[in-house]
């Protein structure tokens, strides 16, 4: 036996004596988004214990929400928040703080007309997701949507921590990721691990969150499930989508799901034929998808044709999975097989979309200004801020 072994054993004994017996943090804290007024904080401990979250405005007093139930998967929902306000919080079990204090932003009210959000997709490995999480944590985005294939290779529960929650931890303690179901996520129990690992809004058509909507400021977001739920005419999802779109008064409408309707790699033609007319009829602004491991932005498309007005389709699948080859289609405004994420800034009638690589460099951008023109949305293409835009570029 070497001399080092007793030293390691003594260190382990001392560390275990300093922590709560049998209790350590395995995941979290993770911010969730159960509805348009609340925030959920979740974490996992390796032994059952009670749950407690202390939170409060940046310069205010602490409030506490606790649950005495002894669990390993902890979930505390914080309601009654001031819309759009930044809160600090900390998680505790057994009255012992389990992680450093962090902050989150409460969901914004419908009168709030300026905010940012991010889009990512097909997160694989740890390098790219970690760098994306770093960029999000450094940015001022409120939330991130995920276009699906959160965990490779098959969305298994045992892979979620190593493949997603650990690489994304720096962002997840500050803001939510709201994912769509990808085909890889659905390989395990039809996507059950994803649905249990994320706190997501509900829909009023089914009993789960395979598809859902939420509002942030003056924007409506709809997440669709084109992998495990029927979306064809007459299906509950199709009817729900049409109803939500027809009833909304939000200025901006964003939709996201996994397989792209328009892609220079592989388009989901069924989604295109069934859903695109609905998007156009109700004035959806941008549709985000993933599945193809690249970044692509189309010209505005109406009636299946890139006409300069209509719906812009963005594929963001550059979250770390092996990049996909492509052949630029006529409707493609920019396509590149490169890693990254998308950042969108909404400011009243103006939207700015920036495609960033994992280091934050902008390689494509788009402005949609609804105040321009005679009531028609006219997307205006701006120059890249990161480097001169090279349509159909390759990294």
């Amino acid at each position: 036996m070497s001399v080092a072994r007793p030293a390691i054993a003594i260190s382990a004994i001392l560390l275990s004596a300093l922590s709560l017996p049998g209790l350590s943090l395995r995941r979290g804290p993770v911010i969730g988004r159960p509805d348009d007024e609340s925030v959920a904080v979740t974490w996992i401990t390796d032994a059952p214990s009670d749950s407690r979250v202390d939170y409060g405005p940046a310069a205010g007093d602490w409030s506490t929400v606790r649950s005495e139930e002894a669990v390993t998967r902890h979930r505390i929902v914080l309601g009654g928040l001031i819309p759009g306000a930044v809160y600090r919080y900390r998680i505790l079990s057994g009255d012992v703080a389990l992680a450093e204090e962090s902050t989150f932003r409460a969901p914004r009210g419908s009168t709030d007309t300026a905010f940012r959000f991010a889009v990512m997709g097909d997160t694989d490995g740890t390098s790219v997701p970690t760098r994306i999480a770093d960029r999000l944590a450094e940015s001022d985005v409120d939330l991130a949507i995920h276009t699906g294939d959160v965990v490779y290779p098959a969305g298994a529960e045992q892979d979620y921590d190593a493949q997603f929650f650990t690489p994304m931890a720096r962002w997840l303690r500050r803001g939510p990721v709201l994912p769509a179901l990808g085909n890889h996520d659905a390989m395990t129990d039809g996507g059950a691990p994803l649905l249990s690992d994320f706190v997501l809004p509900k829909n009023d058509a089914t009993h789960d969150s395979r598809f859902y909507s939420f509002r942030q400021g003056n924007a409506l977001f709809l997440c669709l499930d084109v992998e495990t739920s029927a979306f064809g005419a007459g299906s509950p999802q199709y009817q729900w989508l049409e109803r939500v779109l027809s009833e909304t008064s939000s200025s901006w409408k964003f939709i996201y799901f996994h397989t792209p309707a328009y892609s220079s790699a592989h388009s989901n033609r069924v989604v295109r034929l069934v859903l695109s007319p609905l998007f156009e009829r109700y004035g959806v602004d941008v549709v985000f998808a993933g599945h193809e491991h690249l970044y692509e932005r189309t010209f505005a498309i109406r009636d299946f044709v890139s006409s300069g007005r209509g719906v812009v389709y963005v594929t963001e699948g550059g979250g770390g999975a092996n990049l996909t080859s492509f052949r630029p289609e006529e409707y493609s405004a920019y396509v590149a097989d490169r890693y990254g994420f998308v950042e969108v800034e909404v400011a009243e009638q103006r939207l700015t979309l920036l495609a960033r690589d994992p280091t934050g460099v902008v390689f494509d951008s788009l402005v949609i200004d609804k105040s321009v023109g005679s009531g028609e949305r006219m997307p205006l293409l701006l120059r890249s801020r990161g480097r001169p835009e090279v349509p159909h570029g390759r990294e």
């Binding site: 064809g232 989901n268 069924v270 034929l273 069934v274 007319p277 609905l278 996909t324």
Partner: protein, 295 residues
Amino acid sequence: MSRGSRFGVVLAALLSCLDATAVSAQAWTPNTRIDVPAAGHFCLDGEFSWYRPESFVDRDGTVERFPGGLDFLLGVFRASYAVWHRLALGVEAPYRSAEYDDPGLEASYSAQGLPGVGAFVDWAPGSASAALRPELRFEVFFSRSEQDQVVNVRDGANRYSLTLQLGQGEAERSPNWRYWGNLRFEYAPSIVDRDRLLETRLEVLGGPRVASLYGQGLYVLILGGYRTATAALQEANFFDNRTSQNGFAGILVDWGPRPANEAPPLSLSVSAVHDLRPRNSLSGWRTTLTLVAGL
């Protein structure tokens, strides 16, 4: 009748038939029947199919119904000439039209055009007097470059196919029954963004003579089969990149001599077929009219 005048008669009959079916909005499907003409003779084959899938069914059986009408029309003209005993060379020229009409759109969208051209070799090994008559077709189809529109009429992937047909030889020829079957393998090499395609299709048909018409038997055949492919690449549209399967069944009304070069030199068939238990596949009715002429 000279060979030239016979050709004129057949062509006139073919054209009048095409015109009539266009007016009455009927349609047809690709013919899987192989007719190897006698040495020194021609075989002309015109067929039209109308396929109206009401839905796409995914790999789990989830039915995605189209909110509007999706229609695929396909006309195929084939001409072959037997250069040797039981060996014929032929060419194929299809014409495709596709249309999508959604209630949410300002207009319906359609595309028409020539998907490409094909060349084939038909071979009937063995004796015609045997109980079963095997016939083989090897075909190369050169597809025009891919497009990505509302609905496509071409997909850019060349095809290599081999079809084995087994039908009644003279020894088994019965005036009261008609049957045959075929097995088809199709291969398309990978193109830029798409894996290679392998498709296998098995089809069997059989049924009794139910009437006589102009001295020829009128047969009603039950048709059934199964198709499996590595991707849902159907009707020149790439619907899904995962394996695609479906069964199919229907009815075929067949009139005229088999083989087609026997007198009279015309045979006609009409079929209606529906997809069964599709997975990653379109589902709908396909109706077909086929006219085969030998001269």
